[in-house]
């Protein structure tokens, strides 16, 4: 479903990834680990095709980095939900509208949007805060809203780049439980992290990047 085939990536003549290959199966939960600067965020950017490999191929379902046209990239991204350490919520609209944003930009009708957003906000335990603005929410709540936005369009995979990086351990646990729940409903999760405690509390397969390579 998600595959890296012998991917090389250089940025400004610096080698970031060298001959990286891995595969993530449908509905799998996988950690992406490595020291700071190892290339975790870079792997995720290659997956949502914000970057392209210098050699090798990235494949997501029926999209291949070698063949995808610029026009198809939005449709690839509708299959993926992305979550960042800094939440990336829009400060000028409330939680409902932040979540609905992902559906509005793909032109879904308003009634369907409302139904889906309310359901997913309930899933992340935020429906009572739907009329609040991001700066009125705690970090954990903001991250839950960001997760709601990522999954509201039923992606095949959630790509989470250190989603607990800015959170205390209680909030991190809550985020992990939500990601587990999402995973159990059939969505693959690829989570970049270097929090070993979380990894041992919620054990899953680990892909480690070290000096630009992935251990096999």
């Amino acid at each position: 479903m998600i595959e890296f085939y012998n991917v090389d990536l250089n940025i400004d003549k610096k080698t970031i990834l060298r001959d990286v290959s891995f595969r993530i199966l449908k509905g799998e939960f996988v950690y992406l680990t490595g020291a700071s600067g190892a290339g975790k965020s870079t792997v995720l950017r290659l997956l949502y095709m914000d970057l392209f490999p210098d050699r090798g191929t990235v494949i997501i379902e029926r999209y291949s980095s070698a063949k995808i046209k610029d026009k198809e990239i939005p449709y690839l991204r509708r299959q993926l939900g992305v979550v960042f350490q800094d939440f990336k919520l829009l400060p000028d609209r409330n939680i409902f509208d932040n979540t609905a944003f992902a559906l509005r930009v793909i032109g879904m009708p308003g009634k369907e949007i409302k139904r889906r957003v309310l359901r997913v906000l309930t899933d992340v335990n935020l429906s009572h805060k739907r009329n609040h603005y991001p700066d009125e929410l705690s970090g954990g709540e903001q991250q839950r809203a960001a997760i709601a936005r990522a999954v509201v369009n039923n992606p095949i995979a959630v790509l989470a780049d250190e989603p607990t990086g800015n959170l205390d351990s209680d909030n991190s646990l809550e985020i992990m439980e939500i990601l587990q729940k999402i995973n159990q409903s059939g969505t693959a999760v690829l989570m970049a992290t270097h929090d070993n405690e979380l990894i041992s509390a919620f054990p899953h397969r680990i892909i480690e990047i070290k000096e630009g390579r992935v251990g096999r």
Binding site: Y48, M49, D50, D70, K71, I73, P74, Y75, L76, R77, R78, V82, K88, L90, D92, R93, D97, F101, A102, R104, V105, I106, G107, R149, N153
Partner: protein, 274 residues
């Protein structure tokens, strides 16, 4: 899509666009009027063609017809010896026969020139051709004035052209930068649109609409101010200021195009891969 933010930036964009269009409007207005004035001066130019004093009336008329045939000659008015005497009386208030025994004024004709034959070089050519006609004694015109007009016109056009180019350059830089700033202020929303799978055209649409509206508003402002200036100038300075109303439509068209193009240009760097 909630474009409430950056309202100030939008005001700045509209203002700078209006300013640029207003300056362009003034520039065009000035050019139209300078052009018109020069054209008037040129078309007022007349050649006076004097025939030999002793040609008969009939021969002089035939000569006039010959002059008429020369390329570039517009309306030609024949002035007989009698007409000349009448003119003399009108101008000097005395009958020429009171002063002299006979009428020394030769028959002549006055030649207006067609547009396109009113530059110094063209006039000289026509004068030469007329002078070659048998029976023509002299051709008189305001040689010096024509030379001056030709000289200054070149300079006026060079200066106007340079001024216009500088104006255009400033306007584009100003506008490009303000719009770039407003789009920079919205890079977050553009980024999230891109990440959530919005197509490039979907992302562009509100910005293009905004560019359209800002261009239209800027042009309307500029047009309004220009129209006020025109009536003020007419009242206070030049009663006969010439204004072409389609200039307003040109301003509106230019405003809309500039607004949309600058939006699209400043967006493109954020959208190069979606």
């Amino acid at each position: 899509m909630g474009f409430k933010r950056a309202r100030l930036a939008s005001v700045i964009t509209i203002t700078s666009l209006a300013l640029a269009l207003l300056l362009a409007g003034y520039f065009i207005l000035f050019s139209i009027n300078v052009n018109r004035w020069i054209g008037e001066k040129r078309s007022q130019m007349e050649l006076e063609v004097f025939f030999e004093n002793d040609v008969s009336n009939a021969k002089a008329k035939a000569l006039t017809a010959q002059v008429q045939k020369i390329p570039g000659a517009g309306s030609v008015v024949y002035i007989s010896k009698k007409d000349a005497a009448a003119r003399f009386e009108k101008e000097f208030g005395r009958n020429i026969y009171d002063v002299l025994d006979s009428n020394p004024l030769p028959p002549s004709c006055r030649v207006k020139l067609k547009s396109g034959f009113q530059t110094s070089a063209a006039v000289q050519k026509i004068v030469l051709q007329i002078g070659r006609i048998e029976g023509v004694s002299d051709v008189v015109y305001e040689k010096e004035l024509l030379r001056l007009i030709d000289y200054y016109v070149t300079w006026i056009y060079i200066i106007l052209g340079g001024f216009g180019a500088i104006l255009l350059f400033i306007a584009v830089i100003l506008l490009y930068n303000t719009i770039r700033l407003t789009i920079f202020a919205r890079r977050d929303i553009i980024e999230i649109m891109g990440l959530t799978g919005a197509t490039a055209s979907f992302i562009k649409r509100p910005f293009l609409i905004e560019g359209f509206v800002q261009g239209l508003l800027g042009a309307l402002f500029a047009g309004g101010l220009l129209s006020l200036s025109v009536s003020a100038i007419r009242r206070l300075l030049f009663h006969s200021l010439v204004m072409q109303d389609n200039l307003y439509f040109i301003l509106i068209g230019a405003g809309i195009v500039i607004g949309m193009v600058s939006s699209a240009l400043s967006l493109s760097r954020y959208l190069d891969r979606i």
